[in-house]
């Protein structure tokens, strides 16, 4: 017997490769989106800092904008630098 597969339609779910489940700022899941967004994924990406913490991009930007003096990671208080 020979089986010839014409088409295999699979189902998969995507997830961020992150070391945590939830965003430390908004407490929403990374795989969801920040409170201001409606659509996850491309429209509400994650960003990583050099301290290896990651957040929803919108969340960390909001945080950084609200910091007057020094821009720190809200988790470890190190200076925030985007990871390249």
């Amino acid at each position: 017997m020979k089986v010839k597969i014409r088409q295999w339609s699979g189902v998969a779910s995507w997830s961020w490769v992150a070391n945590d489940e939830n965003c430390g700022i908004c407490r929403m899941p990374f795989n969801g989106c920040c409170p201001d967004c409606k659509v996850p994924g491309d429209d509400c990406p994650l960003v990583w800092g050099q301290c290896s913490h990651c957040f929803h991009m919108h969340c960390i930007l909001k945080w950084l904008n609200s910091q007057q003096v020094q821009q720190q990671c809200p988790m470890c208080r190190q200076e925030w630098k985007f990871k390249e």
Partner: protein
Amino acid sequence: MEEMVVELNSGEPSAPGSDQGVAKAWESVTAALVSPGSSLSEQDRLNLALLCSHGLGRLLGVWLLESLQVRLSSSVVPEFWSGLEQPQDQLEERDRAGVLLSAFQTLLDRLDPFLSGLEQLGAWQAEGRCGLSGPGPGALQDRAFTTIRALLLFSPPTVLQQRVLEFYSRTFSVYMSREGGEDGPEVLEGPDGGACPGCRAPALHCWCPEALQRLQQLSLALSRLQLLEWVSAEAVTAILHRLIEQRMEQHCRGEYERSFLLDFQEWLELVLGWLGKVFATEGGGAAPVPMDPSVPSTPSACGSPVLKQWRCHMHQFFCRIYVNMRIEELFSIIRDFPESKPAIEDLKFCLERTNQRQQLLTSLKSAFESRLLHPGVHTSDILTVYISAIKALRELDPSMVILQVACQPIRKYLRTREDTVRQIVAGLTGDAEACSDLASELSRGDPVTLEMQDSDDEGNDPEDWAPDPTDAVPDKLGSKRRSSDIISLLVSIYGSKEIFIDEYRTVLADRLLHQLNYNTAREIRNVELLKLRFGESHMHYCEVMLKDMADSRRINSHIREEESKLSEEEQPPLALSAIVLSSEFWPTLKEEKLELPAAVCHAMEAYTRRYEKLKAMRTLSWKPHLGSVTLDLELEDRTLTNLTVSPFHAAIILHFQEKSSWTLEELSVKLGAPKELLHRKLALWQQQGVLREEAAGRYVVMETGATRDRLDRGVMLIDSDEERDSNTTTQSEQREEKLQLFWAYIQAMLTNLDSMTLERIHTMLRMFVATGPVVTEMDVNELEAFLQRKVREHQLIVSTGIYRLPKTS
């Protein structure tokens, strides 16, 4: 001059002769009174004056009534009854009618002297002649008639009623056939053929005119005796009742698509003509209605108060009978609704005139319960009837109270059915044929948003406000909130739209996952329509799901493109496409363990790598059991092409490619799936004649010998068991999960607060668990049931309504 005479008379018969003179005078006066037609002679006048002077004037009236009474009870009444009963049954109907008439006429003849005597005496009294005083003719006669009625009809034998009924029925049918309005079954025989349509006698012996003649005479006699109302009313009422009922049975029963109000209005006018004859002489005074039956007598007769009263009665009868019949049939009317609208409108008209709402409610409720709400009826059928009921009853009662009250059992029952929400959603999305109304209802022009109905808007014009009917259920919701919108009513069966939207999400997920192409046009339309009703925010998850589909298509074509750039040998062995989900936004998908064959796994890994390259920092986790596979099977003597199966089935058959014989155990290990499940899945291939089960759980490929010619047919192979909608967990499973989530909260609360009442727990839960897609409104009852279960499982202790955790040992 009068007084002179009186004085003279009083003076003349002095002491010894005076008694005798008075006696004489009494006799002569009374004789004159009861002798019909004689006017008072001069002598009588003197006698009368004499009597009056002796103060006997008052006694005249009493005597007259007394002798009337004696006469009545001694001879007249027995004569009347024997005259009526004497011939018994031997007689023809026609003769019986004659007997009836003559009995009354004899009665009239016998009593006439007294009546005229009374009239005369009354006239004297009224004139105050000879110092005579008394209540006047009216009162005297009233008393006389009361006496007659009392003696005659104190305990009338049934024969009178029978005769009267018979006679009136006959004259009625004669009249109706004369007036030409009646097209009952009588006409079928034809006027020439044999029986006259009116009197049912052979045409030669038709006595229709005679019957009408007699009717008039009888009416005259009765009204002269002031017995008309007493003798006829009952019979007439009975006849009218029977006839309206009959006519309604013949014309209206089971016939809902035509309005009968006007028909009956006309017919009732005709009947009124007959009533005009029955009560002709009473209302119309002395002038009898012209007897020529061809001249419609209605206009002249209608005016009298008696007829007006009867007209009212008749309308009342009609409405009542009609309502009774329709109430009985209401279930069927509702079932046929859009076609049965005329019946509903008629019923509405009549119901406003009778006080039968309560009866309607009770009967409709029990009809629902006995005919609809039992396990043998499919949920979609119940929904269909419910939808019809909504449509029909909102016509019937714009205040929606009937709808609300009568359909309460349906709603309650639907709540107990597992698949209600699924059916409603299927109806909304146009999947179910049965509830196709829902889809059109959804796409209707002016959707009433659920938000809007929640607002406290009390309507536009305060002048239009009407109080609720008395049978309204007193609840927090005012009449304004009593919605008539079908979708909102259905959605509110469960009390909250969240459950409903959750279910919709599940259905949508199923539909999307079963799609092989990424065509979502219809789903997008549905979601847009639902958004109009439920508001943007509630449909947000569904929107993300649809967007996932679109994104998946883009990703797929991108990856395809990448692959096509590769050289020949690097081409992937398997054409894999994927639907990539945003797991947070999709309903919980059923987990099933399945190890796919290596080739497929490789393909998936390759796909994942390309995805990771496309979307930085993101990866895929595959749901091996979801999706679908299209494959061809080449066996030695036949080829099965274009089979579409689930990945599970595909994995099974792929293994048989390597080795043509497997035991259940081996396969189970290989696929990482439990044996029971595997066994079920294998059945499909057995059905297709591809595999054969040998002894000891061993399956082999049937390379040859299968007789079935399933060649070249693209078939969608679906398991016989629940495969179709098994991708998502069922409603009750999800609910159970949610309750478990609540249990954690409850335990925490009870640990901190020691003991709590049911209400307290409920409010606390509502406060804590307030957001997210998984939260459903849980009502107190449900919570109580859940807590009771925990109590039974000894995880909770309850005493006097206070819950606490058991002391940890």
